[in-house]
C-alpha cells in the first residue's frame, strides 16, 4: 500500500470521523447552539435512534428496511424530545445550569429504561447488503486504498442533513422564528412569535437529528444502553468550538477535530490523542470563547 494511498486513506478517515462527529453534534447545534438548552441527554437520543433502527430492521426486511429505520429513528427521537421539552425543559428556561443537571437525570433514566427493555447486552443492527462492502482501488498510485460504503453513506447523510438544516433555518418561516428567538426572545414574543411552539419544535428537531445519527452510527458502532456516553462530551465540545448559533462553525469544528484525531492517531495511541484533543479544546476556548464563527452583536448573551 503506497505512501500516498495511506495518506489519502487517513484523509478519508479524518473526513469520516469528522462527519460522524458533525452528525452527532448537529442536533446539539440546534438545541444548545440556537436555543441555549443544555441537553445532557443528547447522547441517549442517539441511543434511542439506534434501538428504533434495530426494531424497524427486525420487522421490515429487505433493502428499504434501513431507510425506513432512519425515518422512524428521526421521528421516534423527535417525539421523545418533545415530551422531554414539555415535561422538564420548559420549566427551566433561563436556568442553564439547572437544565444541565435535570437533563443529566433524564439521561440516566433513559439508560436504565433501555437496559430494562433490551437488556444490558447491546442489540445488533445489521447493515443492509447494499451498504456492506467497499470501493477498492487496486491499481494506479492509490493501489490498496479501500473506502467502505458505510462510511461514504454516513458522509453523504451528514452533508444532506446539514444542507436540509441550513435550508430550514435560512429559508423557512419556522427558521425565521428560530433565529428571532435566538437573537432576542422578548423581542420575538413582542412581534407575535409563539416562542413556546418554537422551543418545542426546534428542540424536537434537534433530538430527531440525534436519533437519525444514532441509527446511522448503528452501522459501525454498538447499540447499548451506555453508547450515548461516549458521544455526548465530544458533541458539546464541537458545538462550543464551532461557535454557539452557527451551524457552519459546528461543521468546521467537527471536520477539524476529525482530521486532528486521525492524523495524531498515526503517531500516538488513541487514548493519548483523545487526551491531547480534550486539552487542546479547553485551551482553544480560552482564546476564542465565542468559537470559530460567531455573530458580533451587542445583544448576544454571554454563554
Amino acid at each position: 500500500m503506497g505512501h500516498l494511498a495511506v495518506l489519502t486513506g487517513q484523509l478519508f478517515n479524518g473526513i469520516s470521523v469528522g462527519s460522524i462527529l458533525l452528525l452527532t453534534a448537529l442536533g446539539l447545534a440546534l438545541s444548545f447552539g440556537l436555543m441555549n438548552v443544555i441537553n445532557m441527554a443528547h447522547g441517549e437520543m442517539l441511543m434511542v435512534g439506534g434501538y428504533v433502527a434495530y426494531l424497524t430492521c427486525r420487522f421490515v426486511h429487505g433493502p428499504a428496511g434501513f431507510l425506513l429505520a432512519l425515518l422512524f429513528s428521526f421521528l421516534g427521537a423527535a417525539v421523545l424530545g418533545g415530551v422531554l421539552e414539555v415535561t422538564v425543559i420548559r420549566w427551566l428556561y433561563g436556568r442553564p445550569l439547572d437544565t444541565l443537571l435535570a437533563t443529566w437525570g433524564v439521561s440516566l433514566i433513559l439508560q436504565q429504561g433501555a437496559r430494562s427493555l433490551f437488556g444490558a447486552i447491546g442489540v445488533d443492527v445489521v447493515a443492509p447488503h447494499w451498504l456492506s462492502g467497499s470501493v477498492a482501488i487496486n491499481h494506479g498510485v492509490l493501489a490498496g486504498l479501500t473506502l467502505p460504503y458505510v462510511r461514504i453513506f454516513i458522509i453523504l447523510l451528514t452533508i444532506v442533513t446539514f444542507a436540509l438544516l441550513l435550508l430550514f433555518i435560512a429559508r423557512t418561516r419556522w427558521g425565521l422564528f428560530l433565529r428571532a428567538v435566538h437573537q432576542d426572545r422578548e423581542m420575538a414574543q413582542a412581534l407575535g412569535v409563539n416562542t413556546k411552539w418554537v422551543d418545542l419544535l426546534v428542540f424536537a428537531a434537534g433530538t430527531g437529528v440525534a436519533g437519525l445519527a444514532g441509527a446511522a452510527l448503528a452501522l459501525i458502532a454498538p447499540v447499548t444502553p451506555t453508547v450515548g456516553q461516549s458521544y455526548v462530551v465530544y458533541a458539546f465540545l464541537v458545538v462550543i468550538v464551532g461557535g454557539l448559533g452557527s451551524l457552519l462553525g459546528t461543521a468546521l469544528a467537527a471536520l477539524l477535530v476529525g482530521l486532528f484525531s486521525s492524523t495524531v492517531q498515526m503517531f500516538t495511541g488513541v487514548s493519548l490523542s483523545d487526551v491531547f484533543l480534550l486539552v487542546l479544546v479547553i485551551v482553544f476556548i480560552q482564546f476564542r470563547p465565542r468559537g470559530i464563527i460567531f455573530q458580533r452583536s451587542r445583544v448576544m448573551k454571554e454563554a
Partner: protein
C-alpha cells in the same frame, strides 16, 4: 428562623456523629466515615457552586489528585528498599520514576495532598475566569477535564496502575490500616476534618469575601462596577474547593483502601454535584446532610433493588433541580406554596358570591 435553632441543629448533627460509634455497626461506621470524607468535598463544592455560582462537573479530578498523591506515598512506604510497586513491574518499567519517589517522605506527601489539588484548581480557574468564560462553558470544560484525567490515568498504566488503580497498601505512618483501632482513629480524624472545614466555611460566610461571592453569584457584572474583580474571588473560591476535594480524596482512600480511575471520571463528579444539590446548594449543614442522604441511599437502594439505583438518582436529579432548587432547606417553602395554592382555591369557592356582590354595587 429563631436565632438559636440553627446552631442547635448543627450541634445535634455533631452529637449524632460523635455518638455514631455507639449505635452503628462496624460496617456502617466505616461507611459513615467515608461519606463524611465526601462531605468535605461537598462543602468545597458548596462554596464554589452554592456561593459563587460556579458549577464544576470535574471535582473528581482534584479529589483524585489528593487520593493518588497519598496512595503513591503509601505504596512507596510499604516497599522493601530497592523493590518496585508491582504494577510497574508488569507494565515493563525497570525502576520507580523520580517524581514517584519524591512522595516517599510523609511530610512531602502530606504537603502534596494539600498543594497539588489546590494549585491545579487555582491554575485552571485563573486561566478560565480571566478570559471571562461563561458558567455553561466552564461546566462543560470541567467535564471534559474529568474525561481527559480519567483517560490519562487509564492509559499511563505504568505510572498510575491504570484501570486497576492503586491498592494493596498496608501501613500509614507506621500504623496498620487493618487493625480496628486505626479505623476508629481514622473515623475521628475524618469527623475532626469535617468539623474544621465546616467552621472554615461558616467563617468564610461572614467575611466580606463571602458577601462578594454571593454578589458574584447573583450578578457578576454589577459587582464589577463596584470595583471588584470577580476573577480573583472565583479563583480563590475554586482553589479552596480544590483543596477540600484533595483532603476529601485522601481521607476517603484511607477508608476504602483503593483508588481507581473509575472513581474520578465524569459520572462520580456528577454524583458529587447531586449530593450538594439535594442538600441545598448554599447551606453548609444542608450539604453535609445531602451527601449522607445520597450516599446512604445509594448503598441501600443498590443492594435492595440493583436496577433501581440509576433510575432513582436520575429522578432525584430532576425533582431536586425543578421543585427544590434550595434542596432540603426548600421543603418547608415548597410545603408552604402547596398549602397556599390549596387555601386560595378553597377560599375562592367560599367567598366569591359576597365579593362579587360588593364589587358590582360601587
Amino acid at each position: 428562623m429563631k436565632k438559636w435553632l440553627r446552631p442547635a441543629l448543627d450541634l445535634a448533627l455533631l452529637a449524632a456523629l460523635v455518638a455514631a460509634p455507639l449505635y452503628l455497626s462496624a460496617y456502617h461506621l466505616s461507611l459513615l466515615g467515608r461519606f463524611l470524607a465526601m462531605a468535605i468535598l461537598s462543602l468545597g463544592l458548596c462554596l464554589v457552586w452554592g456561593w459563587s455560582g460556579v458549577l464544576s462537573l470535574g471535582q473528581g479530578v482534584f479529589w483524585g489528585l489528593g487520593a493518588y498523591v497519598l496512595v503513591m506515598h503509601l505504596k512507596l512506604v510499604g516497599l522493601q528498599p530497592g523493590d518496585m510497586p508491582d504494577f510497574m513491574l508488569w507494565s515493563g518499567l525497570d525502576h520507580t520514576p523520580g517524581w514517584w519517589t519524591l512522595f516517599r517522605h510523609p511530610a512531602v506527601a502530606l504537603a502534596g495532598v494539600l498543594i497539588v489539588p489546590t494549585v491545579a484548581a487555582a491554575g485552571l480557574a485563573w486561566l478560565v475566569f480571566n478570559r471571562r468564560v461563561g458558567g455553561i462553558y466552564f461546566a462543560l470544560i470541567t467535564q471534559a477535564l474529568a474525561l481527559a484525567f480519567a483517560t490519562l490515568l487509564i492509559s499511563e498504566q505504568a505510572y498510575t496502575g491504570g484501570f486497576n488503580g492503586l491498592t494493596d497498601f498496608t501501613t500509614v505512618l507506621g500504623h496498620y490500616i487493618v487493625d480496628p483501632s486505626f479505623q476508629r482513629a481514622l473515623y475521628w480524624i475524618t469527623v475532626g476534618a469535617l468539623a474544621a472545614a465546616f467552621l472554615f466555611c461558616r467563617w468564610m460566610g461572614k467575611t466580606n469575601f463571602g458577601k462578594v461571592l454571593l454578589a458574584i453569584r447573583d450578578g457578576e457584572s454589577r459587582i464589577r462596577f463596584l470595583g471588584y474583580n470577580p476573577a480573583g474571588y472565583k479563583t480563590i473560591a475554586f482553589a479552596i474547593g480544590g483543596a477540600f476535594a484533595g483532603i476529601s480524596g485522601a481521607l476517603y482512600v484511607l477508608h476504602v483502601g483503593v483508588i481507581s480511575p473509575a472513581m474520578v471520571g465524569v459520572m462520580p463528579s456528577i454524583e458529587m454535584v447531586v449530593a450538594v444539590a439535594v442538600g441545598g446548594r448554599s447551606s453548609f449543614t444542608g450539604v453535609i446532610l445531602g451527601t449522607l442522604l445520597v450516599n446512604f441511599g445509594k448503598d441501600w437502594i443498590s443492594s435492595a433493588m440493583p436496577e433501581m439505583w440509576q433510575l432513582s438518582i436520575g429522578l432525584l436529579f430532576i425533582l431536586v433541580v425543578t421543585l427544590l432548587p434550595k434542596g432540603l432547606a426548600g421543603i418547608p417553602e415548597l410545603g408552604r406554596q402547596i398549602t397556599e395554592r390549596i387555601r386560595r382555591r378553597t377560599a375562592r369557592r367560599g367567598v366569591e358570591p359576597e365579593v362579587l356582590a360588593i364589587t358590582q354595587k360601587n
